[in-house]
């Protein structure tokens, strides 16, 4: 079991170090930068900015749902535009961009011991194309007819028809164009992350010594590179249907009494393409969160992650399985009903590796030395919300149970809990954790704790009761919850309560934003390794790390990322680049 590389047995460098690109002007250093760390901050700032747009949209829709008929400017048309843009921004332009473009860019080179990404120029292009995609998306708010209101799933035929906001205006065209740009930009970044992990690890950093953060981001990126092309072709085909009048997804249709010039297309083909991307997308967001939270728990509980190898295989297994479960989003879509047997089985099987991850997180806490820092609090809150959202997935994944619940508020509650709240709690915890490395200063503790409690409890109070609205049978995507026999007075009250909680949780995010900005100058000085962590990003000579990350010599890795509280060692952590087998390190091999 003992697998510590002795200091005299370090493998020799196979290739000479590559010459690093050095910027010469302010512009190439801070704007058109090829440094992954700068690109990471650009990605994160853009994603956060557009994320606050999505947050405002959620407030607007909650105003309508919580207090129907009070706000005249929220017409059904506007409501559908709000939900569509909210959903698409959160899933693609915030979560995917922030986890992969933000955390991926910052952490991969530092954690694997590289000076930068392997293709810095392409990496820079990746960000600028992402920014362009965001701008095209935002421009649809100002286009004639406004943004598309087709729902974030963009199901044809309605997505490109008159009865849907933006369907026959600019909205849907700009949305599809923006997605196409996003995918191009992402592919450039994604290839970088994968090749960097595979090719640029420092000496001694074997794959089975990578921190789980890197494993999560790496696997998610591989998945994204395989899944996004399905969305890409779906977007191109729908764009052709809309602009050139082809019929990929359009059968013969009579729209409000008028025969349309389409024939022979298949609306359900789009759904297959969309979910072939869409389900892996859930894990593209979840796996980085899984990885990061593993490292947060381990560091702040001062204990090695329990079952590291099982954790790695669970990440890889979930990644692979997530490509054969997509049609569980389509149990009541009208696809052949016998598919239900297959997809229910694969979907419930995926619960097993997922459960293993949960067990290993809580078993890492067992006999730990738990420091209740803010990152740790967010990690604990993640486990609660993720377990809750994961378990309601067992309702929706089990085909026949899905029948009454599908397309109801139960689904909204489920996916917000599992891929909205849970990953965002990880993102927040991760920001509290790595902010000191990025800026050299700590975030304010008091504001941080306020932010944590309001966000965790508020989000739980929003989404836990919402499941029961779905159990009543209240459909999702209803701009007006009136004239419905199942919509009781008490259900209306519950909706108002949920809306009020949504405003409070949103407000707490403003406090967080203030903390982020305020602490850059006024935060307590952090030093290089405030959490006394083992991984390489905390061992850089400068904080924030300088261009090239590691000074003259790259670090050499002698041990896994989890040597916390090794019996016999003086400190309760041994960084990965410290040689020598003191104590009784039992790194799994």
């Amino acid at each position: 079991m003992v697998d510590i590389t002795p200091a005299d047995a370090v493998p020799p460098a196979e290739v000479a170090e590559m010459e690093l690109y050095h910027p010469h002007s302010w512009w190439t250093k801070y704007v058109f930068s090829q440094d992954a760390k700068v690109i990471a901050i650009q990605y994160s700032a853009t994603a956060t900015a557009i994320g606050f747009v999505a947050l405002s949209l959620s407030w607007l829709m909650r105003l309508q749902l919580g207090f129907p008929g009070t706000f005249d400017f929220i017409t059904p048309e506007a409501y559908y535009q709000f939900i569509t843009m909210h959903g698409m921004i959160m899933v693609i332009y915030l979560l995917t961009a922030l986890f992969l473009g933000g955390f991926g860019n910052y952490l991969i080179p530092l954690m694997v011991g590289a000076r930068d990404m392997v293709f810095p120029y392409v990496n820079m292009l990746s960000y600028w194309i992402y920014l362009l995609a965001v701008l095209v998306l935002v421009s649809s708010f100002f286009a004639p007819g406004g943004p598309t209101g087709a729902g974030w799933t963009l199901y044809p035929p309605q997505a490109i028809m008159t009865g849907t906001p933006g369907g026959q205006d600019w909205g849907i065209i700009l949305m599809l164009a923006s997605l196409i740009l996003f995918i191009i930009g992402f592919t450039m970044g994604g290839l970088n992350y994968v090749v960097t992990v595979l090719q640029a690890r420092t000496r001694g950093m074997t794959m089975m010594r990578l921190p789980l953060t890197v494993w999560g981001i790496f696997t998610a990126t591989v998945m994204a590179l395989l899944a996004f092309p399905a969305l890409f072709v779906a977007c191109v085909m729908m764009l052709l249907d809309r602009v050139l009048g082809t019929s990929f997804f359009m059968p013969a249709i009579v729209e409000m009494g008028e025969q349309l010039q389409h024939n022979g297309g298949s609306p359900i083909l789009f759904q297959h393409l969309f979910w072939f991307f869409g389900h892996p997308e859930v894990y593209i967001v979840a796996l980085p969160a899984f990885g990061i939270v593993s490292d947060l728990i381990s560091t702040h509980a001062r204990k090695n992650i329990f079952g590291y190898r099982m954790m790695v295989w669970a990440i890889v297994g979930i990644g692979a399985l997530s490509f054969v479960v997509w049609a569980h989003h389509m149990y009541v879509s009208g696809m052949h009903p016998y598919f239900g047997f297959f997809f229910a089985t694969t979907t419930l099987i995926i619960a097993i590796p997922t459960a293993i991850k949960v067990y290993n997180w809580v078993l890492t806490l067992w006999r730990g030395d738990i420091h209740l820092t803010i990152p740790m609090l967010f990690a604990l809150a993640f486990i609660v919300t993720f377990v809750n959202g994961g378990l309601t997935g067992l309702f929706l994944g089990n085909v026949v149970v899905d029948v009454p619940l599908s397309d109801t508020m139960f689904v909204v509650a489920h996916f917000h809990m599992v891929m909205g709240v849970a990953p965002i709690l990880v993102i927040l915890g991760a920001i509290y954790h790595w902010y000191p490395k990025v800026t050299g200063r700590m975030l304010d503790e008091t504001l941080g704790r306020f932010h944590f409690w309001v966000t965790f409890l508020g989000a739980y109070l929003i989404f836990f009761p919402m499941h029961y609205l779905g159990l009543i049978g209240i459909p999702r995507r209803y701009a007006e919850l009136t004239d419905m026999t199942i919509m009781t007075e008490s259900a209306h009250h519950l909706n108002s309560f949920i809306s009020i909680m949504a405003f409070i949780v949103g407000f707490a995010q403003m406090v967080f934003l203030f903390n982020l900005i305020w602490s850059i100058r006024h935060g307590r000085e952090a030093g290089g390794n405030p959490w006394r962590a083992t991984t390489l990003e905390w061992q850089t000579p400068q904080t924030p790390p300088a261009h090239g990350n590691f000074g003259k010599d790259l670090p050499i890795v002698y041990r896994w990322a989890y040597d916390y509280s090794v019996p016999g060692a003086k400190e309760d952590f041994i960084p990965q680049n410290v040689p020598g087998n003191f104590g009784l390190s039992k790194e799994p091999a």
Binding site: I253, I268, V387, V400
Partner: protein, 290 residues
């Protein structure tokens, strides 16, 4: 420390909410109480797991919180424990999946004595078609839709002549008889959903989909559209009335057949003509007024 207490409160609060809150499913009106049973099984299994995991966490946070001089244990792996947990999870998953698939096979296999009833969705109203005396629905095609033939029944098909057409009005069903709902759409995706029946299925233009059920109590039930179908989606309500056999036959006697409707001096379905034309606002007004 507060967090340990809060974790316990989350579990206790969630369980109390589940049992005490007034928000629960509607009284069932079909044979699909099997589905309700599988939901109950799922609630029990997932509820126990949720409580166990979160309470275990709360205990760990309380018991192993940092104190001066405390140090974590060092135990990278425990193969036995990991395998045991995997096996137990597998058993739990199987306990959910087996009853689920069993009920699904009932759901997708329509009994041979089920009567076909066709539902046609369009923005934003429901229409229905019942087979006439021959017991067969005539074939249909979206391309045959006109103001006089709003459901697109193929005029030359003899099976279609005696079909009963219920356009943009209530559907009646007899109690205790299995029905196969045959679902069509003429424009976008819709989803025929009645919460009390527990069943739903999307309707796809260009395809025919289905589900079946047996109404088990008389009454009036609201039809909702459960698949986003444009601006009028939340207004796309309909009504299904489950009648005794006698009431049902009385209602059926008042309906018109396709042949009667397509005769030159037609009497019904005048408002369809007024609602035609690509005017969303006018269409929405018609729907809202209904």
């Amino acid at each position: 420390m507060a967090i340990a207490l809060v974790l316990v409160l989350v579990v206790v609060g969630s369980v109390l909410f589940h049992f005490l809150s007034p928000w629960w499913w509607t009284p069932i009106a079909s044979n699909w109480d099997y589905i309700d049973h599988t939901i109950i099984i799922t609630f029990w299994i997932t509820g126990v797991v949720f409580a166990a995991v979160v309470l275990f966490m709360a205990y760990c946070v309380f018991r192993f919180r940092h104190r001066e001089g405390s140090r974590a244990a060092y135990e990278p792996e425990n193969k036995r424990l990991e395998w045991w947990l995997t096996v137990i999870t597998g058993v739990g998953v199987t306990a959910l999946l087996v009853p689920g698939l069993f009920v699904w096979s009932r759901f997708v296999n329509v009994p041979s004595d089920a009567t076909e009833v066709e539902v046609i969705g369009q923005q934003w109203q429901w229409s229905f078609r019942l087979p006439g005396k021959d017991g067969k629905l005539g074939t249909s095609d979206t391309r045959d839709i006109t103001a006089e033939n709003p459901l697109g029944v193929i005029p030359g098909d003899p099976n279609g002549q005696d079909d009963v057409v219920v356009e943009a009005a209530d559907l009646h069903l007899p109690i205790g008889k299995p029905v196969k709902m045959v679902l069509r759409s003429v424009d976008v995706l819709h989803d025929f959903y009645i919460p009390e029946f527990r069943a739903k299925m999307d309707m796809i233009p260009g395809s025919v989909t289905y589900f079946w059920f047996t109404p088990t109590r008389t009454g009036t039930f609201q039809v909702l559209c459960a698949e986003l179908c444009g601006q009028g989606h939340p207004l796309m309500h309909g009504v299904v009335m489950v009648d005794t056999e006698q009431d049902y036959l009385a209602w059926l006697g008042q309906q018109q057949t396709f042949a009667q409707l397509s005769a030159p001096q037609k009497t019904g379905s005048a408002d369809q003509a007024t609602a035609s034309g690509l005017n969303v606002a006018a269409k929405l007004e018609t729907v809202e007024a209904r």
